[in-house]
Subunit: 131 residues, 6 copies
């Protein structure tokens, strides 16, 4: 039945989010609850239930690829910091995260790489991570 | 002495490129030889000699992060295909490459992910790679 | 049951695509069938089954908003042309499409607006549309 | 005579702005008055006098297309909020605005759509709009 | 009177275009004549009549700034090549153009700089320019 | 010897930075010292030691091209303000800087040009520059 199944994708996504970044997702749900609660649901269902749940690539590499992408986009600091948390929670070291962002200087230019590093610095300080 | 040393970064970069993607780099050098040969040199020295040579992140993950970034940029098909070759040469499976590009639908939007998949398809067909 | 329901989102999306742009979707499916058939499925399920099927905004306006977005992205000609077809199929006039793209000169700059107009011109000529 | 006519485009633009968003335009004029007052004049003359005044597309759809474009650009929160005000003033419902921004998840990626929704939420709260 | 004056901006723009790049503008007019002739008029009136005609910055520097911007956008090859022609016609040397594009590697990333250099190479070969 | 020479590129870059923008570079070094001190070194070595030190284009034009590029990127306010300082230190007038940013309305769209002007206004006020 449809409701059940849609809950399956949602629950599969939530299960992933619980491991990776429960805090950020709860913040997102809260921030969107008045304006567009469906958007938080799509994050759980599509981004995590469909995409992050796919086999073929480990979670650590998925988070590093996402950090590469959001650093390249620029101007999405909240989302970048959320995925730096997610990468650490998935088992990436601060050093691996820093290496991905430094590398973005080559592909997305120095300003975006530098801004990405500032976001990483903030997350590492919040969590008392040593690089 | 300066010339020697600059050659060291260049040679370090070239050594990396020889493993990863000698064909693409020679095409780049040739394509730039009349207009800006220094640019090919910077690719060897800075991108490969400085950045890809850094410890702290394995080459396969570096190539997947680059594929994430160039897919997100959009509109740089030659460079994307070159790094899909590089990722395969570094030992990534076609499946891992596809997973990174599909995931970009979430962060960079469907049009860029779809265009990235077309580039991957072309590379896989050129090399007879099975997914 | 899960398979059934996932088919529901898929079928809902396909129903939308059949009205709006069956030809483009079949081309997409074919182009992705070797490299990433799941991506075509996500287009049907998420883009059309989840998003385009939402109430609260008519299909014509949805297509014009998409044309605004892809013109702003730049460099995604196949997808832009596909949605110009979709907009015409949804009942937009060529004039409305042109007006949206011209307006992008203000927000995304002249080069992207001009490239968007070239894509529109190609679609209108293929379909013998008068502006 | 030249001055008179340039005033015509300016006045045509201002007339539009008075209906759509007089408050935002006055803020813009004030913010630019020391650094580049001509830029505010170009907004009135070109963006509103030339483009928004064109026949062939209603004002509501123009504002929704602009919201799609600025959400896709990312990183231009002041301008996005100004056009969300403009869309409401032109008669769009909060629901229509939200639908356009949610749809941008497909074309511009989730981070830009989510940031767009945060801007919409701020505007709706300022104006006490119910969704 | 309005018609006269609008012609003044148009004529001022056309005068600029005649010096800088009459060939590219005629191609643009022709390419847009069926789909959106007004867009070519806005290029003449706004881009050239209003902006390029402003005092305070010489034409050569204006063209180099435009080349920097379009290289940074990426994916707008026709427009980039048109402005490389414009820069040469305005008196820039091939070397100055190359230097601006190489520098974009730092700010917009290597892929966009390399693609910009390919466009420059094509223009220089068409015109038999020596670097 | 390698260390010596790498210091040569660094020192050449630092010499440039001392003339152009010593204050911004020291802020950058400090901001990156815990997270990625190598990134500040690459700014000195590659951006300034390799690129800005190249002959063939004067420093003032280099800074204006950079301002065009960062305005076009959008969302990198710290870096844009740093280069507006750099341009003034290199001898550009406030008027020349404003002209480049206004011109970006044509190529990168009005929102990015307007945001660029706000950054310029802040720098001019900090330095008491008259336009």
């Amino acid at each position: 039945m449809s409701v059940t199944v849609s809950e399956d994708r949602y629950n599969k996504g939530i299960k992933h989010l619980e491991t990776m970044n429960p805090h950020s997702f709860r913040n997102l749900e809260k921030a969107l609850e008045n304006v567009a609660p469906d958007m938080a649901r799509y994050v759980a269902e599509f981004a995590y239930g469909d995409i992050y749940s796919r086999p073929g690539l480990d979670l650590k590499t998925r988070e590093l690829a996402t950090i590469a992408s959001i650093t390249t986009l620029g101007g999405a600091k909240t989302e970048l910091k959320s995925h730096i948390h997610g990468a650490l929670n998935a088992g990436c070291t601060p050093r691996e995260i820093i290496e991905v962002i430094i590398q973005m200087a080559v592909y997305a230019g120095f300003p975006k790489a530098i801004n990405g590093l500032y976001s990483a610095d903030e997350v590492f300080q919040e969590r008392n991570e040593k690089i």
